[in-house]
Amino acid sequence: MRAFWALVARDIKLAGRLGGGPFVGLGFFIIVVTMVPFGVGADLPLLSRIGPGVLWVAVLLATLLSLDRLFQADFEDGSLDLFLMSPLPVEMQVLAKCLAHWITNTVPLIIAMPAVAFLVNLETGIMLPLIVSLLVGTPSLSLIGALGAALTVGVRRGGLVLSLIVLPLYVPALIFGAAAGTGDLMGTPMLFLGAFSLASLALAPFAAAAALRISVS
């Protein structure tokens, strides 16, 4: 377990020291949300209606953008070889990396949510369910994304293919997440969303670990 947390700490440290740290993803998120009113018009009732969905899609895209590097940097400098030989099971390594990815990429977006929500005229009553839905649902984005990142590590134009293979798998998370973001805290969509996250937690690390072993071979 100590090795697990050492890996989490390392990845968080690395993310913080990478040029721009968490602010690049945050900036991308805010700009995507800003683009929407330019596209659909500054129609406040309309924005307020589509707001939760827009925020969910923007979080999903920002997550996807950062997933590209989840294993790629370790692959490029030879660290991945050592990880696969380390005493910490690869499944646990995937979990550790997902946790670090979630903390460094997604949590900043959720923290910024109350401020960004003004851009889409979000009703104040919806803020709490929206944030809870993001906390419950976004771990599945990191976990499923880890499978995509593991499959495309070391591949030409890996980032593009990563989007193509991961986005369809995100459909249930987006559907339940955006619905939970407007509904009851313990409503049906929130429960579905939680179930989806738990299922990803149970399955994705094994698939991603298998994919990593294949990718380095």
């Binding site: 499959l151 293919v161 193509l164 293979i165 369809p168 798998l169 249930p172 559907i175 399955l203 698939a207």
Partner: protein, 252 residues
């Protein structure tokens, strides 16, 4: 584990067997499709509500069936490939993907064309068609992954992991899209695959479905054979290049 490859997979036997079966299978496909098309386009009556538009169903429903059945067969082949390291299984999964994607696309196009007169728009985010659209994207992802990973063995196993992940997720996607659909719009009144199907419609439909399935099988066999021959050609080229290197080394 790789050791078992030689023992189990016998491409030579597959080539001989599939070569013998192919002409008969192709003939059966042509015959079934001819009968099916005759029944569907000429012999069967137009629908009293939908008129001639209903004939679209004879293409749409078999395509939609093959979109799902094709993916299921692909997932099965991928699982066999991953468990028993059977190169033939990987090759057949690779062969099935563009076929499944093509039938999925056909199901989407016929669904949209049928939707225009029935629903007043080509695309109304109907639950079933939307699920088929997501399935189409998963097919595309699978094919793209094959394209970008150069080494056959690595590509075969990586795409198989993705195919199985997709197979696990597809029922969830289907469920979520159905649920989402009831959330945002009332259930459609008219359906392309209506609930009560009269036997005058059912018979041509079943014949067409059989014909499409046979077509899928025949094309899969052809594509798998092509894949094996391509691999053999690449292997021969590589052997020649290696032999050339040794000769070159002796000369130099």
């Amino acid at each position: 584990m790789a050791k078992s490859i030689q023992r189990f997979a016998n491409p030579a036997r597959f080539m001989a067997l599939s070569g013998a079966v192919l002409p008969w299978a192709a003939a059966a496909t042509a015959l079934t499709l001819s009968i099916g098309l005759y029944l569907a386009l000429i012999a069967s009556p137009p629908d009293y509500q939908q008129g001639e538009t209903v004939r679209m169903m004879y293409v749409h429903v078999p395509s939609a069936w093959l979109a799902s059945a094709g993916y299921a067969s692909m997932a099965l082949a991928c699982a066999v490939g991953l468990i028993w390291r059977h190169p033939l299984a990987f090759a057949s999964a690779k062969a099935m993907a563009p076929l499944g994607a093509a039938f999925t696309f056909l199901a989407l196009v016929t669904g949209a064309l049928w939707g225009k007169p029935m629903w007043g728009a080509y695309w109304v985010w109907d639950a079933r068609l939307t699920s088929v659209l997501v399935l189409f994207f998963i097919y595309l992802g699978y094919i793209a992954l094959w394209e970008v990973i150069e080494d056959f063995g690595r590509a075969a196993r990586a795409t198989s992991v993705f195919c199985l992940a997709g197979a696990v997720n597809l029922p969830v996607i289907r469920f979520s899209v159905d649920w989402w659909n009831t959330l945002h719009q009332p259930a459609s009144v008219a359906r392309l695959d209506g609930p009560a199907i009269h036997s005058s419609i059912l018979t041509p439909l079943l014949v067409m479905a059989l014909g499409f399935t046979l077509l899928f099988v025949v094309l899969t066999l052809v594509r798998t054979r092509t894949e094996i021959m391509e691999r053999r050609a690449a292997s021969l080229e590589m052997q020649q290049a290696q032999a050339g290197m040794i000769v070159g080394a002796h000369n130099g």
